[in-house]
Protein backbone atom coordinates (compact mmCIF):
# COMPACT_ATOMS: atom_id res chain seq x y z
CA UNK A 1 0.00 0.00 0.00
CA UNK A 2 2.85 2.35 0.80
CA UNK A 3 4.91 3.41 -2.14
CA UNK A 4 8.44 4.49 -1.36
CA UNK A 5 7.79 8.19 -1.10
CA UNK A 6 4.60 8.01 0.87
CA UNK A 7 4.91 8.49 4.62
CA UNK A 8 4.11 5.52 6.86
CA UNK A 9 2.70 7.80 9.53
CA UNK A 10 1.55 11.26 8.67
CA UNK A 11 0.62 13.52 11.57
CA UNK A 12 -1.42 16.56 10.67
CA UNK A 13 -2.17 19.42 13.06
CA UNK A 14 -2.15 17.11 16.06
CA UNK A 15 -3.47 18.79 19.19
CA UNK A 16 -3.87 17.18 22.58
CA UNK A 17 -5.57 18.70 25.57
CA UNK A 18 -6.02 17.27 29.03
CA UNK A 19 -9.09 19.13 30.25
CA UNK A 20 -8.01 22.74 29.83
CA UNK A 21 -4.26 22.20 29.62
CA UNK A 22 -2.93 22.04 26.12
CA UNK A 23 -0.04 19.60 25.93
CA UNK A 24 0.51 19.44 22.18
CA UNK A 25 -0.43 22.11 19.71
CA UNK A 26 -0.63 21.80 15.95
CA UNK A 27 2.08 19.26 15.37
CA UNK A 28 2.56 18.08 11.81
CA UNK A 29 5.20 15.58 10.80
CA UNK A 30 5.67 12.76 8.31
CA UNK A 31 7.48 9.60 9.29
CA UNK A 32 8.75 7.49 6.40
CA UNK A 33 9.46 3.79 6.21
CA UNK A 34 12.85 2.86 7.62
CA UNK A 35 13.28 6.11 9.51
CA UNK A 36 14.53 6.13 13.09
CA UNK A 37 13.02 9.21 14.65
CA UNK A 38 14.32 10.08 18.10
CA UNK A 39 12.33 12.51 20.19
CA UNK A 40 14.23 14.49 22.84
CA UNK A 41 13.30 17.40 25.02
CA UNK A 42 12.83 18.59 28.59
CA UNK A 43 10.39 16.87 30.95
CA UNK A 44 6.82 17.91 30.46
CA UNK A 45 7.37 18.96 26.87
CA UNK A 46 4.87 16.38 25.66
CA UNK A 47 7.30 13.81 24.19
CA UNK A 48 5.54 10.81 25.66
CA UNK A 49 2.11 12.23 24.94
CA UNK A 50 3.13 12.76 21.32
CA UNK A 51 4.34 9.18 21.07
CA UNK A 52 1.20 7.82 22.73
CA UNK A 53 -0.94 9.78 20.30
CA UNK A 54 0.71 7.96 17.39
CA UNK A 55 -1.15 4.74 18.26
CA UNK A 56 -4.03 6.56 19.92
CA UNK A 57 -3.23 5.34 23.42
CA UNK A 58 -4.11 8.97 24.05
CA UNK A 59 -6.92 10.06 21.78
CA UNK A 60 -5.89 13.25 20.01
CA UNK A 61 -8.12 16.24 20.77
CA UNK A 62 -7.68 17.51 17.23
CA UNK A 63 -5.92 16.84 13.98
CA UNK A 64 -5.36 13.56 12.25
CA UNK A 65 -2.89 10.69 12.23
CA UNK A 66 -2.76 8.89 8.91
CA UNK A 67 -1.32 5.40 9.29
CA UNK A 68 -1.44 3.09 6.28
CA UNK A 69 -3.73 5.53 4.52
CA UNK A 70 -6.31 5.55 7.32
CA UNK A 71 -6.94 8.33 9.81
CA UNK A 72 -6.66 6.41 13.07
CA UNK A 73 -7.46 9.51 15.12
CA UNK A 74 -11.02 9.17 13.83
CA UNK A 75 -13.05 7.61 16.65
CA UNK A 76 -15.08 5.55 14.19
CA UNK A 77 -12.02 3.61 13.02
CA UNK A 78 -11.45 0.18 14.58
CA UNK A 79 -8.24 1.17 16.30
CA UNK A 80 -7.39 -2.37 17.38
CA UNK A 81 -6.95 -3.43 13.77
CA UNK A 82 -4.27 -0.80 13.27
CA UNK A 83 -2.56 -1.14 16.65
CA UNK A 84 -1.61 -4.65 15.64
CA UNK A 85 0.83 -3.10 13.20
CA UNK A 86 2.22 -0.56 15.64
CA UNK A 87 4.46 -2.14 18.27
CA UNK A 88 4.85 -0.27 21.52
CA UNK A 89 7.42 -0.60 24.29
CA UNK A 90 6.78 1.07 27.62
CA UNK A 91 8.99 2.61 30.26
CA UNK A 92 7.61 0.23 32.87
CA UNK A 93 7.86 -2.87 30.58
CA UNK A 94 4.24 -3.86 31.35
CA UNK A 95 4.68 -7.57 30.84
CA UNK A 96 1.50 -9.45 31.72
CA UNK A 97 2.14 -10.57 35.29
CA UNK A 98 -0.30 -13.47 35.14
CA UNK A 99 1.27 -15.05 32.05
CA UNK A 100 4.58 -16.85 31.63
CA UNK A 101 7.17 -15.24 29.38
CA UNK A 102 6.30 -17.36 26.36
CA UNK A 103 2.55 -16.76 26.86
CA UNK A 104 3.28 -13.04 27.08
CA UNK A 105 4.74 -13.26 23.61
CA UNK A 106 2.20 -15.63 22.05
CA UNK A 107 -0.97 -14.16 23.59
CA UNK A 108 -1.73 -11.60 20.90
CA UNK A 109 -0.56 -13.59 17.83
CA UNK A 110 -2.57 -16.64 18.92
CA UNK A 111 -5.61 -14.53 19.71
CA UNK A 112 -5.59 -12.84 16.32
CA UNK A 113 -4.74 -16.05 14.47
CA UNK A 114 -7.64 -17.93 16.00
CA UNK A 115 -9.98 -14.99 15.61
CA UNK A 116 -9.23 -14.81 11.89
CA UNK A 117 -9.53 -18.56 11.47
CA UNK A 118 -12.93 -18.60 13.15
CA UNK A 119 -14.11 -15.63 11.10
CA UNK A 120 -13.06 -17.43 7.92
CA UNK A 121 -14.78 -20.65 8.99
CA UNK A 122 -17.94 -18.75 9.85
CA UNK A 123 -17.94 -17.00 6.49
CA UNK A 124 -17.36 -20.30 4.66
CA UNK A 125 -20.29 -21.84 6.52
CA UNK A 126 -22.66 -19.18 5.24
CA UNK A 127 -21.18 -19.30 1.74
CA UNK A 128 -21.80 -23.06 1.69
CA UNK A 129 -25.44 -22.55 2.65
CA UNK A 130 -25.76 -19.88 -0.03
CA UNK A 131 -24.16 -22.21 -2.58
CA UNK A 132 -26.87 -24.80 -2.03
CA UNK A 133 -29.43 -22.44 -3.51
CA UNK A 134 -27.30 -20.82 -6.17
CA UNK A 135 -26.18 -22.05 -9.55
CA UNK A 136 -22.92 -20.22 -9.86
CA UNK A 137 -21.15 -21.30 -6.69
CA UNK A 138 -19.19 -18.75 -4.70
CA UNK A 139 -15.63 -19.77 -3.90
CA UNK A 140 -14.80 -20.63 -0.30
CA UNK A 141 -12.00 -18.97 1.62
CA UNK A 142 -9.04 -21.30 1.65
CA UNK A 143 -8.22 -22.49 5.14
CA UNK A 144 -4.90 -24.24 5.47
CA UNK A 145 -4.34 -24.09 9.19
CA UNK A 146 -5.87 -25.27 12.44
CA UNK A 147 -6.05 -23.71 15.88
CA UNK A 148 -3.43 -26.16 17.05
CA UNK A 149 -1.12 -25.20 14.22
CA UNK A 150 -1.54 -21.51 14.98
CA UNK A 151 -0.56 -22.15 18.58
CA UNK A 152 2.43 -24.28 17.62
CA UNK A 153 3.65 -21.74 15.11
CA UNK A 154 3.30 -18.94 17.63
CA UNK A 155 5.25 -21.00 20.16
CA UNK A 156 7.98 -21.70 17.64
CA UNK A 157 8.26 -18.07 16.72
CA UNK A 158 8.29 -17.01 20.36
CA UNK A 159 11.09 -19.47 21.10
CA UNK A 160 13.07 -18.14 18.14
CA UNK A 161 12.61 -14.60 19.45
CA UNK A 162 13.64 -15.67 22.95
CA UNK A 163 16.65 -17.43 21.46
CA UNK A 164 17.58 -14.19 19.79
CA UNK A 165 17.70 -12.34 23.11
CA UNK A 166 19.25 -15.31 24.90
CA UNK A 167 16.34 -15.96 27.26
CA UNK A 168 15.10 -19.35 26.04
CA UNK A 169 15.54 -20.82 29.50
CA UNK A 170 13.12 -18.23 30.87
CA UNK A 171 10.27 -19.25 28.57
CA UNK A 172 8.19 -20.85 31.32
CA UNK A 173 8.81 -18.52 34.22
CA UNK A 174 6.70 -15.56 35.27
CA UNK A 175 7.82 -11.98 34.67
CA UNK A 176 8.28 -11.29 38.39
CA UNK A 177 11.50 -13.32 38.38
CA UNK A 178 13.21 -11.42 35.57
CA UNK A 179 15.55 -8.46 35.91
CA UNK A 180 14.50 -5.11 34.49
CA UNK A 181 16.71 -5.46 31.44
CA UNK A 182 15.39 -8.95 30.73
CA UNK A 183 11.81 -7.75 31.13
CA UNK A 184 12.33 -4.91 28.70
CA UNK A 185 13.94 -7.19 26.12
CA UNK A 186 11.00 -9.58 26.42
CA UNK A 187 8.64 -6.62 26.04
CA UNK A 188 10.45 -5.68 22.83
CA UNK A 189 10.20 -9.16 21.32
CA UNK A 190 6.56 -9.35 22.43
CA UNK A 191 5.91 -6.34 20.22
CA UNK A 192 8.04 -7.88 17.45
CA UNK A 193 5.98 -11.07 17.49
CA UNK A 194 3.15 -9.13 15.86
CA UNK A 195 5.39 -8.16 12.90
CA UNK A 196 4.79 -4.45 13.37
CA UNK A 197 5.40 -1.92 10.62
CA UNK A 198 6.63 0.60 13.13
CA UNK A 199 7.82 0.42 16.73
CA UNK A 200 7.23 3.10 19.33
CA UNK A 201 9.59 3.23 22.30
CA UNK A 202 8.46 5.29 25.28
CA UNK A 203 11.62 5.93 27.31
CA UNK A 204 12.59 2.26 27.13
CA UNK A 205 15.61 2.58 29.45
CA UNK A 206 14.43 5.16 31.98
CA UNK A 207 13.26 2.60 34.55
CA UNK A 208 16.37 0.43 34.27
CA UNK A 209 19.43 0.10 36.47
CA UNK A 210 22.43 1.68 34.73
CA UNK A 211 24.17 -1.64 34.04
CA UNK A 212 21.09 -2.97 32.22
CA UNK A 213 20.64 -0.03 29.88
CA UNK A 214 23.27 -1.37 27.48
CA UNK A 215 21.59 -4.70 26.74
CA UNK A 216 18.29 -3.02 25.90
CA UNK A 217 19.88 -0.34 23.73
CA UNK A 218 21.88 -3.00 21.90
CA UNK A 219 18.68 -4.86 21.01
CA UNK A 220 17.04 -1.65 19.77
CA UNK A 221 20.13 -0.88 17.67
CA UNK A 222 19.98 -4.36 16.19
CA UNK A 223 16.36 -3.80 15.16
CA UNK A 224 17.26 -0.42 13.73
CA UNK A 225 19.98 -1.97 11.61
CA UNK A 226 17.46 -4.48 10.27
CA UNK A 227 15.48 -1.59 8.87
CA UNK A 228 12.63 -1.37 11.38
CA UNK A 229 10.89 1.99 11.36
CA UNK A 230 10.95 3.41 14.88
CA UNK A 231 10.02 6.40 16.93
CA UNK A 232 11.95 6.61 20.18
CA UNK A 233 11.48 8.92 23.12
CA UNK A 234 14.66 8.86 25.16
CA UNK A 235 16.97 10.73 27.48
CA UNK A 236 20.03 8.79 26.29
CA UNK A 237 21.67 11.45 24.12
CA UNK A 238 24.60 9.30 23.02
CA UNK A 239 22.18 6.60 21.88
CA UNK A 240 19.98 9.16 20.15
CA UNK A 241 22.92 10.49 18.22
CA UNK A 242 24.07 7.06 17.18
CA UNK A 243 20.80 5.57 16.06
CA UNK A 244 18.69 8.47 14.80
CA UNK A 245 18.14 9.36 11.18
CA UNK A 246 16.18 12.34 12.41
CA UNK A 247 16.01 14.02 15.80
CA UNK A 248 12.97 15.95 16.99
CA UNK A 249 13.48 18.43 19.78
CA UNK A 250 10.21 19.08 21.54
CA UNK A 251 9.51 22.09 23.71
CA UNK A 252 6.59 24.39 24.37
CA UNK A 253 3.83 22.07 23.13
CA UNK A 254 5.41 21.46 19.78
CA UNK A 255 8.43 20.46 17.75
CA UNK A 256 10.89 23.28 18.33
CA UNK A 257 13.55 21.98 16.01
CA UNK A 258 14.22 18.92 13.89
CA UNK A 259 17.03 17.66 11.74
CA UNK A 260 19.75 15.06 11.43
CA UNK A 261 21.59 14.18 14.64
CA UNK A 262 24.50 16.23 13.39
CA UNK A 263 22.39 19.32 12.82
CA UNK A 264 20.72 19.08 16.19
CA UNK A 265 23.68 18.09 18.33
CA UNK A 266 26.46 20.01 16.57
CA UNK A 267 24.72 23.07 15.20
CA UNK A 268 21.47 23.64 17.04
CA UNK A 269 19.67 26.78 15.86
CA UNK A 270 16.81 27.22 18.31
CA UNK A 271 17.88 28.83 21.62
CA UNK A 272 15.68 26.34 23.49
CA UNK A 273 17.59 23.46 21.91
CA UNK A 274 20.94 25.05 22.75
CA UNK A 275 19.85 25.60 26.34
CA UNK A 276 18.58 22.00 26.68
CA UNK A 277 21.65 20.41 25.14
CA UNK A 278 23.95 22.51 27.32
CA UNK A 279 22.11 21.24 30.34
CA UNK A 280 22.20 17.53 29.45
CA UNK A 281 25.47 17.06 27.57
Amino acid sequence: MNSENQPLISVKNLTKKFDDTTVLENISIDIYKGEKVVVIGPSGSGKSTFLRCLNCMEDPSGGSIIFDGVDIADMKVDINKHREHIGMVFQQFNLFNNKTIIRNITLAPVYFGIKRLRAAKCKNFFTKIENIFKKNKKPLIEINTTEKQIKEEADKKAMALLHRIGLEDKANVYPSTLSGGQKQRVAIVRALAMNPKVMLFDEPTSALDPEMVGEVLDLIKELANEGMTMVIVTHEMGFAREIATRVLFMADKGIAEQGTPEEIFEHPQNPRTIQFLNAVL
Partner: protein
Amino acid sequence: MNWASKWEVFWQTLSGEFYRNLFFEGLLNTIKIAVIGLIIGIVIGTIIAVVKVMPKYKALPRVLDKICEVYVALFRGTPMVVQLLVAYYVLLPALGVKGVEAVKVGVIVFGMNSGAYVSEIMRSGINSVDKGQMEAGRALGLGYAVTMLKIVIPQAVKNILPTLGNEFITLIKETSVLSFITVYDLYTALGAIGSKNYDKVMPYLFMAAIYIVLVLIITFMIKGLEKVMAKSDRKKAGI
Protein backbone atom coordinates in the same frame (compact mmCIF):
# COMPACT_ATOMS: atom_id res chain seq x y z
CA MET B 1 -31.23 -32.81 83.13
CA ASN B 2 -27.50 -32.73 82.75
CA TRP B 3 -25.48 -32.10 79.58
CA ALA B 4 -24.73 -35.71 78.90
CA SER B 5 -28.34 -36.76 78.88
CA LYS B 6 -29.35 -33.73 76.82
CA TRP B 7 -26.79 -34.72 74.23
CA GLU B 8 -28.04 -38.30 74.42
CA VAL B 9 -31.60 -37.25 73.66
CA PHE B 10 -30.56 -34.89 70.91
CA TRP B 11 -28.28 -37.39 69.26
CA GLN B 12 -30.93 -40.08 69.38
CA THR B 13 -33.43 -37.81 67.63
CA LEU B 14 -30.90 -36.75 65.04
CA SER B 15 -29.96 -40.36 64.36
CA GLY B 16 -33.55 -41.22 63.57
CA GLU B 17 -34.11 -41.51 59.86
CA PHE B 18 -36.57 -38.64 59.52
CA TYR B 19 -34.51 -36.06 61.33
CA ARG B 20 -31.27 -37.29 59.82
CA ASN B 21 -32.67 -36.74 56.34
CA LEU B 22 -33.99 -33.36 57.39
CA PHE B 23 -30.59 -32.40 58.73
CA PHE B 24 -28.75 -33.46 55.58
CA GLU B 25 -31.29 -31.76 53.38
CA GLY B 26 -30.79 -28.59 55.40
CA LEU B 27 -27.01 -28.86 55.26
CA LEU B 28 -27.12 -29.50 51.52
CA ASN B 29 -29.44 -26.54 50.93
CA THR B 30 -27.19 -24.28 52.97
CA ILE B 31 -24.11 -25.24 50.97
CA LYS B 32 -25.92 -25.30 47.65
CA ILE B 33 -27.42 -21.85 48.03
CA ALA B 34 -24.19 -20.31 49.31
CA VAL B 35 -22.02 -21.84 46.56
CA ILE B 36 -24.34 -21.19 43.62
CA GLY B 37 -25.21 -17.79 45.09
CA LEU B 38 -21.53 -16.90 45.24
CA ILE B 39 -20.96 -18.01 41.64
CA ILE B 40 -23.90 -15.92 40.43
CA GLY B 41 -22.64 -13.10 42.64
CA ILE B 42 -19.17 -13.21 41.13
CA VAL B 43 -20.57 -13.14 37.60
CA ILE B 44 -22.95 -10.24 38.34
CA GLY B 45 -20.33 -8.46 40.44
CA THR B 46 -17.68 -8.72 37.74
CA ILE B 47 -20.04 -7.36 35.11
CA ILE B 48 -21.01 -4.42 37.34
CA ALA B 49 -17.38 -3.74 38.26
CA VAL B 50 -16.32 -3.71 34.61
CA VAL B 51 -19.18 -1.36 33.74
CA LYS B 52 -18.06 0.93 36.56
CA VAL B 53 -14.42 1.12 35.50
CA MET B 54 -15.21 1.38 31.77
CA PRO B 55 -14.27 4.64 30.08
CA LYS B 56 -17.46 6.65 29.74
CA TYR B 57 -17.15 8.52 26.47
CA LYS B 58 -20.21 6.99 24.91
CA ALA B 59 -23.85 6.99 25.96
CA LEU B 60 -24.25 3.22 26.46
CA PRO B 61 -21.66 2.82 29.25
CA ARG B 62 -23.16 5.81 31.01
CA VAL B 63 -26.66 4.32 30.91
CA LEU B 64 -25.34 0.95 32.08
CA ASP B 65 -23.45 2.69 34.87
CA LYS B 66 -26.66 4.30 36.14
CA ILE B 67 -28.51 0.98 36.02
CA CYS B 68 -25.73 -0.69 38.00
CA GLU B 69 -25.78 2.13 40.52
CA VAL B 70 -29.49 1.63 41.14
CA TYR B 71 -29.00 -2.14 41.39
CA VAL B 72 -26.24 -1.83 43.97
CA ALA B 73 -28.16 0.76 45.98
CA LEU B 74 -31.22 -1.49 46.00
CA PHE B 75 -29.47 -4.67 47.09
CA ARG B 76 -27.12 -3.10 49.58
CA GLY B 77 -29.81 -0.87 50.99
CA THR B 78 -32.20 -3.60 52.11
CA PRO B 79 -31.63 -6.58 54.39
CA MET B 80 -31.37 -10.00 52.79
CA VAL B 81 -34.48 -11.16 54.70
CA VAL B 82 -36.52 -8.38 53.19
CA GLN B 83 -35.24 -9.23 49.71
CA LEU B 84 -36.16 -12.89 50.20
CA LEU B 85 -39.63 -12.01 51.50
CA VAL B 86 -40.31 -9.53 48.71
CA ALA B 87 -39.10 -11.93 46.05
CA TYR B 88 -41.03 -14.92 47.35
CA TYR B 89 -44.24 -13.41 48.72
CA VAL B 90 -44.59 -10.24 46.66
CA LEU B 91 -42.82 -10.50 43.32
CA LEU B 92 -43.65 -14.10 42.44
CA PRO B 93 -47.40 -13.80 43.07
CA ALA B 94 -47.47 -10.36 41.44
CA LEU B 95 -45.86 -11.77 38.32
CA GLY B 96 -48.24 -14.70 38.45
CA VAL B 97 -45.47 -17.27 38.61
CA LYS B 98 -46.49 -20.41 40.42
CA GLY B 99 -44.72 -23.52 41.58
CA VAL B 100 -41.21 -22.11 41.83
CA GLU B 101 -39.24 -23.89 44.53
CA ALA B 102 -38.26 -21.72 47.45
CA VAL B 103 -34.69 -22.99 47.14
CA LYS B 104 -34.42 -21.58 43.63
CA VAL B 105 -35.73 -18.23 44.79
CA GLY B 106 -33.17 -18.35 47.57
CA VAL B 107 -30.32 -19.06 45.16
CA ILE B 108 -31.29 -16.21 42.87
CA VAL B 109 -31.79 -13.68 45.67
CA PHE B 110 -28.53 -14.72 47.30
CA GLY B 111 -26.73 -14.39 43.98
CA MET B 112 -28.17 -10.98 43.21
CA ASN B 113 -27.49 -9.74 46.72
CA SER B 114 -23.96 -11.04 46.65
CA GLY B 115 -23.43 -9.49 43.21
CA ALA B 116 -23.92 -6.03 44.69
CA TYR B 117 -21.21 -6.64 47.29
CA VAL B 118 -18.84 -8.50 44.98
CA SER B 119 -19.06 -5.62 42.47
CA GLU B 120 -17.38 -3.30 44.96
CA ILE B 121 -14.79 -5.93 45.89
CA MET B 122 -14.06 -6.62 42.23
CA ARG B 123 -13.84 -2.92 41.41
CA SER B 124 -11.19 -2.38 44.04
CA GLY B 125 -9.41 -5.46 42.68
CA ILE B 126 -9.46 -4.14 39.11
CA ASN B 127 -8.21 -0.76 40.33
CA SER B 128 -5.38 -2.51 42.18
CA VAL B 129 -4.00 -3.88 38.90
CA ASP B 130 -1.37 -1.63 37.35
CA LYS B 131 -2.78 0.54 34.54
CA GLY B 132 0.16 -0.51 32.39
CA GLN B 133 -1.31 -4.01 32.07
CA MET B 134 -4.36 -2.68 30.27
CA GLU B 135 -2.21 -0.35 28.18
CA ALA B 136 0.10 -3.15 27.11
CA GLY B 137 -2.84 -5.26 26.00
CA ARG B 138 -4.45 -2.40 24.11
CA ALA B 139 -1.13 -1.50 22.48
CA LEU B 140 -0.91 -5.02 21.08
CA GLY B 141 -4.28 -4.47 19.44
CA LEU B 142 -6.38 -6.50 21.89
CA GLY B 143 -9.77 -4.99 22.61
CA TYR B 144 -10.83 -3.57 25.96
CA ALA B 145 -13.00 -6.56 26.84
CA VAL B 146 -10.39 -9.14 25.81
CA THR B 147 -7.64 -7.42 27.80
CA MET B 148 -9.96 -7.13 30.77
CA LEU B 149 -10.87 -10.81 30.64
CA LYS B 150 -7.46 -12.29 29.90
CA ILE B 151 -5.12 -9.95 31.74
CA VAL B 152 -6.72 -7.61 34.25
CA ILE B 153 -9.48 -9.70 35.87
CA PRO B 154 -7.26 -12.76 36.58
CA GLN B 155 -4.82 -10.48 38.40
CA ALA B 156 -7.66 -8.66 40.15
CA VAL B 157 -9.16 -11.93 41.38
CA LYS B 158 -5.81 -12.95 42.80
CA ASN B 159 -5.64 -9.72 44.77
CA ILE B 160 -9.17 -9.94 46.16
CA LEU B 161 -9.29 -13.65 46.95
CA PRO B 162 -9.22 -13.18 50.75
CA THR B 163 -12.06 -10.66 50.55
CA LEU B 164 -14.05 -12.95 48.26
CA GLY B 165 -13.55 -15.67 50.88
CA ASN B 166 -15.09 -13.33 53.39
CA GLU B 167 -18.11 -12.88 51.13
CA PHE B 168 -18.49 -16.65 50.84
CA ILE B 169 -18.38 -17.03 54.61
CA THR B 170 -20.98 -14.30 55.00
CA LEU B 171 -23.21 -16.08 52.52
CA ILE B 172 -22.89 -19.42 54.30
CA LYS B 173 -23.96 -17.85 57.54
CA GLU B 174 -26.68 -15.72 55.98
CA THR B 175 -28.41 -18.87 54.74
CA SER B 176 -29.90 -19.11 58.24
CA VAL B 177 -32.53 -16.57 57.16
CA LEU B 178 -33.78 -18.87 54.40
CA SER B 179 -36.34 -20.40 56.70
CA PHE B 180 -38.34 -17.19 56.23
CA ILE B 181 -39.31 -18.44 52.80
CA THR B 182 -39.88 -22.07 53.82
CA VAL B 183 -36.53 -23.42 52.69
CA TYR B 184 -35.20 -26.30 54.78
CA ASP B 185 -31.79 -25.17 55.88
CA LEU B 186 -29.65 -26.01 58.89
CA TYR B 187 -31.70 -23.75 61.12
CA THR B 188 -35.05 -25.29 60.20
CA ALA B 189 -33.76 -28.84 60.46
CA LEU B 190 -32.16 -28.45 63.87
CA GLY B 191 -34.89 -26.15 65.14
CA ALA B 192 -37.38 -28.91 64.43
CA ILE B 193 -35.44 -31.26 66.68
CA GLY B 194 -35.46 -28.61 69.39
CA SER B 195 -39.22 -28.23 69.17
CA LYS B 196 -39.76 -31.97 69.31
CA ASN B 197 -37.65 -32.51 72.44
CA TYR B 198 -38.58 -29.23 74.15
CA ASP B 199 -34.84 -28.54 74.36
CA LYS B 200 -33.20 -25.94 72.16
CA VAL B 201 -29.81 -25.96 73.88
CA MET B 202 -28.21 -28.91 72.14
CA PRO B 203 -29.60 -28.25 68.65
CA TYR B 204 -28.42 -24.65 68.72
CA LEU B 205 -24.98 -25.51 70.05
CA PHE B 206 -24.73 -28.23 67.44
CA MET B 207 -25.79 -25.74 64.77
CA ALA B 208 -23.06 -23.33 65.87
CA ALA B 209 -20.52 -26.13 65.66
CA ILE B 210 -21.62 -27.06 62.14
CA TYR B 211 -21.33 -23.47 60.95
CA ILE B 212 -17.88 -23.16 62.49
CA VAL B 213 -16.74 -26.36 60.80
CA LEU B 214 -18.14 -25.18 57.45
CA VAL B 215 -16.38 -21.84 57.76
CA LEU B 216 -13.11 -23.48 58.77
CA ILE B 217 -13.27 -25.77 55.74
CA ILE B 218 -13.88 -22.76 53.49
CA THR B 219 -11.00 -20.84 55.07
CA PHE B 220 -8.74 -23.80 54.45
CA MET B 221 -9.86 -24.07 50.82
CA ILE B 222 -9.33 -20.37 50.19
CA LYS B 223 -5.81 -20.57 51.59
CA GLY B 224 -5.08 -23.43 49.22
CA LEU B 225 -6.48 -21.46 46.30
CA GLU B 226 -4.36 -18.44 47.26
CA LYS B 227 -1.28 -20.64 47.17
CA VAL B 228 -2.16 -21.95 43.72
CA MET B 229 -2.78 -18.46 42.40
CA ALA B 230 0.41 -17.11 43.96
CA LYS B 231 2.38 -19.23 41.49
CA SER B 232 3.06 -16.22 39.28
CA ASP B 233 5.01 -14.71 42.18
CA ARG B 234 7.40 -17.62 42.23
CA LYS B 235 10.31 -18.78 40.19
CA LYS B 236 8.80 -21.57 38.14
CA ALA B 237 5.32 -22.30 36.97
CA GLY B 238 3.35 -24.89 38.84
CA ILE B 239 5.50 -25.35 41.91
